[in-house]
């Protein structure tokens, strides 16, 4: 069913993900500006507002990097570079239509393994500069990870269980008639929540929180800051994009070609996540931890049980 894309796709993938991340950030900026300053008067103003992240990226490229006393530069650089690397490596198993850069038999576990590299990346970025605020941000992401990771793992395991395979292509193929989102709604909802948490963004933005002067990114300036923030947007796009093959039927759909359906569905998921960021305040982590362990984990376990019973009776 699913096939591997030609070799050049591997070279194109990072740029495609970056472009998607830039478009998402642009849409987010346009929505934020409309909320703060009213609707855009002209198409030109709208374009200018949407290009704000690009202008910021150019500004950061030429900005003087920041140095701190007794910093562990090697670890900081490793952490900053690891974040976009992890996002792109996780994106390698994302199918565009029915083709991905690689479709290993354990693609779902690969995705999960790559996204937890972000745990190491954010902590290292926080630790490196030898600054209390950035260290606080790094520690916050680990606390957040402990709250979201277990329900997240159970949710993606449920999708794999429904397809009886860890291969992403197989999961897509099994959703030809019925999307998994429709008969595993709890797993889908938990996946969307953890996709936001994974990219430490919106209601789960504590690791870069304003109350800690920018948290893990507090001491980053210039290109390093650009790489970290760009990596975070890329991670968000990849996490949102993975909801499509897992729960939304991948490239399946009438009339349009598979790759276009994938893009449309990814855009829809990203639109929901942008709306969530506008609608919800930051979640207090100790409350979310309690919610995750007492509500989400039992809920996803029940969901997995229901799916397992259906699969056994198939």
């Amino acid at each position: 069913m699913s096939e591997t894309a030609p070799l050049w796709a591997a070279a194109v993938l990072p740029f495609a993900l970056l472009a998607l991340a830039a478009v998402t950030a642009g849409c987010g900026a346009a929505v934020s500006a409309a909320a703060e300053r009213g609707p855009a008067g002209s198409a030109r103003e709208l374009t200018s507002r949407a290009a704000a992240p690009l202008r910021e990226a150019l500004r950061l490229l030429v900005q003087q990097p920041r140095t701190t006393t007794a910093a562990d530069g090697a670890l900081r650089r490793a952490g900053v570079a690891l974040l976009p690397t992890a996002a792109v490596l996780a994106g390698a198993v994302l199918p565009l239509g029915f083709r991905s850069v690689t479709d290993p038999g354990v693609g779902i576990v690969w995705f999960n393994a790559m996204e937890v590299l972000a745990w190491a990346a954010v902590w290292l970025t926080g630790w490196g500069p030898n600054s209390a605020l950035s260290l606080t941000g790094g520690y916050r992401f680990l606390a957040q990870g402990l709250a979201y990771e277990l329900p997240h793992m159970l949710a993606i395991t449920t999708a794999a269980l429904g397809a009886e395979s860890l291969r992403v292509g197989e999961v897509v193929a099994r959703q030809e008639g019925l999307w998994f989102a429709l008969w595993m709604p709890a797993a889908f909802a938990v996946y969307l929540l953890s996709a936001v948490a994974m990219a430490f963004w919106g209601p789960f933005g504590h690791p870069l929180g304003r109350d800690a002067a920018g948290g893990a990114a507090a001491e980053l300036g210039g290109p390093a800051r650009l790489v970290l923030l760009g990596g975070r947007w890329t991670l968000l796009v990849v996490a949102a994009g993975f909801a499509v093959p897992l729960f939304l039927g991948g490239g399946h759909g009438p009339l349009l070609p598979g790759w276009l359906w994938t893009l449309l569905k990814t855009a829809a998921v990203l639109a929901v996540l942008l709306a969530v960021r506008r609608a919800l305040p930051a979640v207090r982590m100790e409350r979310y931890t309690e919610f995750a362990w007492t509500v989400l984990v039992p809920l996803t376990l029940l969901q997995a049980l229901a799916v397992a019973v259906v699969v056994l009776n198939r």
Binding site: A70, G105, V106, A113, V116, L117, A120, W123
Partner: protein, 187 residues
């Protein structure tokens, strides 16, 4: 050819990062050097064709090392390497021991009469691994899992200083627990 090159790169990186664990004097660096070494080991396992085991090694070790770094930094006397400190103990004894073990293992590799491969590798090693781990031993594994989990819960209950009477009052009737840090379970 590519597999051989990849093996040597991963093997040398794993060994070098493993050595650096003992050379670094910062807990954070040592932890992440160990993670690098373990990730390379996971890559070697994937090269052997055991994709699932290899990827699970990447997943588990990353989470484990990320959390371990926190505890190491919390409890070690020299977390960031700001004060000179050696993390080596019994250097001479350890060197002799390691040398002997290495020589024995290397001799084993070179001298053992390796059998020729019989049969073909399975189409889905993950499935075969699951069957051989779990197939006839499902009950054993389930019982073991429950026993381990009960041990963890029991240990935490015994070790914690604050009991339910501290949290919910002498008559256990308080609706919200009286915790120093909010976020504990309610009833």
């Amino acid at each position: 050819m590519l597999e051989h090159a990849l093996f040597w790169v991963l093997a040398v990186l794993a060994a070098a990062a493993g050595v650096m664990v003992f050379r670094f004097d910062s807990m954070a660096r040592a932890t992440y050097a160990l993670l690098t070494s373990l990730l390379c080991a996971g890559g070697v396992v994937m090269l052997l064709g055991l994709d699932y085991l290899g990827v699970v090694i990447l997943l588990m070790m990353t989470v484990e090392m990320a959390l371990m770094a926190v505890f190491m930094v919390m409890y070690m006397m020299n977390p960031a390497g700001l004060m000179p400190m050696s993390m080596l103990h019994n250097t001479k004894g350890a060197a002799v021991l390691c040398g002997a073990v290495f020589a024995a293992l290397a001799a084993g590799i070179l001298l053992a009469p390796w059998p020729a491969r019989r049969g073909r590798p399975p189409a889905d090693p993950t499935h075969d691994l699951g069957m051989s781990l779990m197939g006839p031993h499902m009950l054993t594994m389930m019982t073991l899992g429950m026993a381990l989990f009960a041990t963890i819960v029991g240990t935490v209950v015994l070790a914690t200083r604050r009991g339910r009477y501290d949290r919910f009052g002498d008559d256990l009737k308080a609706r919200r627990p009286d915790d120093p840090v909010p976020g504990g379970g309610r009833r």
